[in-house]
């Protein structure tokens, strides 16, 4: 390699005239997200855990019910079988989406790819938007496949005791809504990742918030405590994943989803502002 021959002769004048469009940014972010193995593996884990646990837990509960165990009734499968089906496997599977959401931005920082990205796309906000769009579409598509899959597996298992179908009120909305919830959850994690810029820190924060902090606000006393709890991001967001509303519920499913979207948008705006302000 001592002799060097540049493939292109001389820099052409006017070459830099046209700014690539948003489509180029989408294509760029798609190449980035598909070309690392962590994306594929996280989505495989998401699908296997969600579908597998839905099947396993639904089957075990129905089996207990068949054997006349009383605890199975308390699990709520009889009261709201759809919510049971969608809440079991996806409840754990959602953590994989949190991890992927954080990774798509923090892995750029830990690897140093962020500098290559920003050299190519110095306008940082459009880059973040393109990343969010590509990630959302990916999670929504995979999420729909997995939520519908979970529903049909669960519905087949509970069929003999509790026939459920998409035509029952609220069921289709709950199944589609579960994937919408997962999509916004992923964006929520991406926003946290853009704030913290550190993989382990961001993942720990997101999972701590989703599994511990937000649910814990349910222990707050009085009516103001109930209001705080109802407006917590994922608490509000999960309303859309249930086909039936519970008594005394402060928000409708779509209102709850709106609250979750608003929180996520707020975090993304702060993340975008910091991305623009901070040294890369």
């Amino acid at each position: 390699m001592t002799a060097v021959a540049p493939a292109a002769p001389a820099p052409a004048a006017g070459q830099a005239a046209r700014r690539p469009g948003f489509g180029n940014l989408l294509l760029t972010e798609w190449t980035k997200i598909r070309s690392v193995r962590s994306t594929l593996w996280t989505l495989i884990i998401f699908a296997v855990v969600s579908l597998g646990l839905t099947a396993l837990l639904t089957w075990l509960t129905i089996r207990a019910l068949n054997n006349g165990r009383s605890g199975a009734r308390a699990s709520g499968i009889g009261a709201d079988p759809v919510n049971f089906i969608l809440g079991t496997g996806l409840g754990l599977g959602q953590l994989a989406i949190c991890v992927l959401g954080a990774l798509v931005i923090t892995a750029e920082y830990s690897s140093g790819t962020i500098r290559a990205s920003l050299l190519a796309m110095p306008r940082r906000i459009p880059m973040l938007i393109a990343k969010g769009v590509v990630f959302s579409v990916l999670v929504f598509v995979v999420g729909e496949a997995v939520t519908f899959g979970s529903f049909f597996i669960g519905a087949a298992i509970v069929h003999s005791h509790f026939p459920v179908s998409l035509s029952q009120p609220g069921v289709t909305r709950a199944v589609i809504g579960s994937a919408l919830y997962l999509t916004v959850l992923g964006l929520f994690a991406l926003a946290i990742g853009s704030l913290i810029r550190h993989t382990a820190g961001a993942i720990t924060t997101v999972i701590g918030l989703v599994l511990v902090i937000f649910p814990l606000t349910g222990l707050l006393p009085y009516s103001w405590g109930a209001h705080i709890h109802a407006y917590m991001p994922t608490v509000a967001g999960q309303l859309i994943t249930a086909d039936k509303q519970t008594a005394g519920q402060l928000l409708t499913p779509w209102q709850g989803f709106g609250v979750f979207c608003a929180w996520t948008a707020l975090l993304l705006i702060v993340g975008g502002y910091l991305l623009k302000r901070r040294d890369a």
Partner: protein, 333 residues
């Protein structure tokens, strides 16, 4: 054309770049020289819009980096070699960069061939050696076929063959009329590569001149003399008008470094007094020494807290010749 004007960057208490101004022109390799921590990388990051300056501007062809419509077609940059996702292949790394600029896939194949990585392009970069990673970085810099290139320590960690390859590439690209701006703390590497030098220390401009001029102007001609009767000879030389110092670089302690007198005259003095000479060597300071001398001056200013003349007023204009020869005398006891 890369123009830096009155650029200042502060990280917390530390002033990394201090009212720096210079211009990098096309058609030559411009070396960006300074000891570690002088602010070279920071300056490059400021030019590339990765960091935000407190004040001042850095432009490429008159535009701030984030105003460039297609940045990779205006300037290519190599920063840290290993700044790539270890799980992504070199091909995909270059592909997403190409897509961001609206460049065809064909261009990725071309730059991979240019740096000789075609065969390993689909392997994950985590398994690459430093030299291979450096080549991926150069391929990325060449992707948009830019008229300007910014390379931060491109030969760091390369084997001799790799160093020669990078050196030849830079010279060839400069010969094509491109602007090549390359940082290094290896003075001798710059001596053989750079046509022009911009030297900074403690974030301030120390010199901005052709490499040859830098060496000639900052170097001191001296003569190394070794003799078993060094003390006696030293006295005689001093009497005749020479300046004698103990040579600190020598292996043997008996060496004298004589300035202000040519070697033949020293030989005549020794012969007249019957003094035995073991060595009589005329020396021209290398770029390394010239550089050490200049940056020692900047370090001294920093340590004593005395700002150099002109620091508090307007910044030194681009092209300023200010490696004050007085520095060398100031640091001599």
């Amino acid at each position: 054309m890369i123009e830096v004007h009155d650029l200042t960057k502060r990280y917390g208490d530390k002033l990394a770049v201090d009212h720096l101004s210079f211009t990098v022109g096309p058609g030559r390799v411009t070396g960006f020289l300074g000891p570690n921590g002088a602010g070279k990388s920071t300056t490059m990051r400021l030019i590339l819009g990765l960091d935000r300056p407190q004040s001042g501007t850095a432009t490429i062809d008159g535009k701030r980096y984030d105003q460039l419509p297609r940045p990779l077609a205006a300037v290519g940059a190599l920063l840290e070699a290993k700044a790539m996702h270890t799980g992504r292949s070199a091909y995909n790394h270059l592909l997403f960069l190409a897509q961001s600029q609206g460049l065809p896939r064909r261009r990725v194949d071309e730059v991979l061939a240019l740096v000789g990585l075609t065969e390993v392009a689909n392997k994950r970069t985590g398994g690459y050696s430093l030299g291979m990673s450096q080549r991926v970085g150069i391929a990325a810099a060449m992707l948009g076929n830019p008229p300007a290139l910014l390379l931060d320590e491109p030969v760091n960690g390369l084997d001799p063959e790799g160093i020669r390859w990078v050196r030849n590439l830079m010279k060839q690209l400069a010969a094509e009329g491109r602007t090549i701006f390359v940082s290094s703390h290896l003075m001798n590497e710059m001596a053989v590569t750079a046509d022009h030098l911009i030297v900074i220390g403690k974030g301030k401009l120390i010199a901005d001149c052709p490499t040859q001029e830098f060496i000639e102007r900052s170097s001191e001609r001296s003569v190394l003399v070794r003799s078993p009767q060094a003390d006696r000879l030293g006295e005689l030389i001093t009497t005749e008008g020479g300046v004698v110092k103990q040579d600190t670089n020598g292996i043997q302690p008996a060496g004298l470094s004589v300035t202000g007198m040519e070697a033949p005259r020293i030989g005549e003095i020794a012969a007249a007094a019957g003094i035995v000479l073991h060595e009589l060597t005329p020396r021209l300071a290398s770029l390394e020494e010239a550089f050490m001398e200049l940056t020692a001056g900047s370090t001294e200013f920093g340590a004593t807290g005395q700002p150099p003349a002109g620091q508090d007023g307007a910044p030194a204009p681009a092209g300023a010749r200010q490696p004050a020869p007085a520095h060398g005398e100031e640091i001599t006891p």
